[in-house]
């Protein structure tokens, strides 16, 4: 994908929500910086009604700090890159995402194919994501006992959800 203002490849994808309407921008690094600094400058120059609304502003700041408990992505990071961090974000940021989805798709309810084998317990799946994150930390901190415990739990969960990789086929 090309940058929307110059011929360089786009590296940053920004989804902006203005009054509940989503706009997607695709920029190269340089143009993105420029755009963001302009947007910031504009932000200081908001119409009085908006700027005076301190409550709204702090709410937006609060919103930006909102983080997914599984993958750790903040809503601000999502807004910057336009890409979510994990499937659970759709739940963690639901309140903020629904208006965005509405403006992108005009709908907020899926009406199409449903996997025959729906994730029997999606919480299990999210737990796996979380455990893998914890395992990484445990290894980094050299808490090997904790890591071993986490590994066992991950293995157990993987078996339960039957998403272990397919056995390699013999010739």
């Amino acid at each position: 994908m090309k940058c929307q203002t110059c011929p360089s490849p786009a590296t940053l994808h920004i989804t902006e929500i203005v009054k509940g309407v989503a706009a997607e921008h695709h920029f190269c690094d340089e143009c993105a910086q420029q755009y963001l600094s302009q947007a910031e400058a504009k932000g200081n120059d908001l119409p009085p009604g908006v700027a005076a609304d301190e409550e709204g502003e702090s709410k937006l700041k609060e919103l930006d700090q909102l983080a997914c408990p599984n993958c750790g992505i903040t809503f601000k990071e999502f807004r910057k890159q336009g890409r979510l961090g994990c499937p659970h974000d759709y739940v963690a940021f639901q309140e903020e995402l629904l208006p965005l989805l509405e403006s992108i798709h005009g709908e907020t309810q899926h009406f199409g194919k449903v996997p025959k084998r729906t994730p029997d317990d999606s919480r299990k799946q999210y737990r796996l994501i979380k455990l893998r994150g914890e395992l990484k930390v445990a290894i980094a901190e050299e808490s090997y006992e904790q890591a071993a415990k986490l590994r066992d739990e991950i293995q157990q969960l993987e078996q339960e959800t039957q998403t272990a990789p397919a056995e390699e086929e013999t010739e």
Binding site: L84, H110, K116, R117
Partner: protein, 351 residues
């Protein structure tokens, strides 16, 4: 299969067969899917990416017996080979230029491809010659079913299949039809088509997908939204509108012939002449003349050249293809010479 063998043949979708193949080059459907137990790629570390690739390449190997798929580790491919696969529509630019463990499995006939660790964990694509929306959907749906027997895709009841970018969630489907619209471009009616399509929620792109300029008068029409409508409805939206565009293009062609048959015949013949005899030629000029030539054949103004040859030339005159054909890396000046020489060979009377 070795990658270099591909240069000996071309994808089935270039055969110029199937309904409306004079105007509809190809139909493509892709599905975006993610394994539910891993983060999306923006948050996946090296270890997670390795694991995702291991699971999905294992699944592709399992499908291989039914679909004759060949899997390639994209990280081990040279830049030229990656570019070659992009030109062939087997991988996206994003996968080619991406980072970290990633791969692609595609069928020998080149009409099925599965990209691993692109924007989503898995992107399945089915490609066909001509207007073939139903058969594309049937095949891709079947592949998706086969995969779902073994892996768990991220899904929730309200928002459907969950994707890295909220613009793809729900069905995760993109249905696109590639049209050759030279008469609409020449008569400048094409803008009206774009505006009308935009109003009904369809997107228009150039030959090589997002952000690329339309080359050779090729346009991809595709759905813009993925949530709230079933796959069948989204396909039907396209199916309803495509015949109107085809009809519009045909009327424009007829009008061009009627107004100035001699002028048109002259334009097409000159394009043919340049392609048959140029000693150096850019990709842009090649595309432009091939487009004229293609229309000329479809209007019966040129009779000694089959459409599949022209379709192939659009792909084989691209930079990576030329370098594969010549077995060497060429700078842009050298490519223009190689391109002209290749065109002369392919368009010489005995072929």
């Amino acid at each position: 299969m070795k990658l270099d063998e591909l240069i000996q043949s071309s994808g089935e979708w270039l055969r110029g067969e199937g309904p409306e193949a004079d105007i509809v080059i190809s139909t493509r459907i892709r599905l975006a899917r993610n394994l539910s137990q891993f983060p999306f790629l923006t948050r996946a570390d090296e270890a997670a990416r390795v694991e995702i690739e291991r699971i999905l390449s294992g699944q592709i190997a399992r499908l291989a017996s039914r679909k004759s798929l060949n899997y390639f580790d994209v990280t081990s491919l040279q830049r030229l080979d990656r570019q070659f696969l992009v030109e062939r529509q087997l991988i996206s630019r994003e996968l080619s230029e991406g980072q970290g463990p990633r791969g692609v499995g595609f069928s020998t006939a080149e009409n099925v491809s599965l990209m691993v660790n692109e924007e989503d964990h898995l992107r399945i694509q089915v490609l066909r010659s001509g207007l073939a929306l139903e058969s594309c959907w049937q095949e891709i749906n079947q592949i998706d079913d086969l995969l779902e027997e073994q892996v768990c895709f991220a899904f929730n009841e309200q928002l459907g299949y969950l994707t890295a970018c909220p613009t793809n969630c729900g069905t995760g489907i993109r249905v696109s039809v590639m049209l050759h619209l030279p008469a609409l471009v020449q008569t400048k009616e094409i803008q009206k088509v774009f505006q009308a399509l935009h109003k009904i929620g369809l997107a228009v792109r150039g030959l090589y997908g997002e952000g690329s300029q339309a080359m050779g008068d090729f346009y991809q029409i595709s759905n813009q939204t993925t949530l709230g409508k079933s796959e069948e409805q989204l396909i039907k939206n396209l199916k309803d509108v495509i015949p109107n565009i085809i009809g519009y293009e045909r009327r424009c062609r007829t009008a061009l012939v009627k107004e100035n048959r001699q002028g048109l015949h002259d334009q097409v013949s000159r394009a043919y002449g340049i392609l048959k005899s140029a000693q150096t030629i850019t990709s842009e000029e090649t595309m432009q003349h091939l487009s004229s030539l293609r229309m000329g054949i479809n209007l019966g103004l040129i009779e000694d050249l089959p459409i599949p040859t022209v379709n192939e030339l659009f792909i084989f005159t691209q930079p990576a293809h030329l370098q594969k054909l010549r077995h060497s890396s060429l700078d842009s000046g050298e490519r223009n010479v190689a391109r002209a020489s290749y065109l002369r060979e392919r368009l010489a009377p005995q072929n």
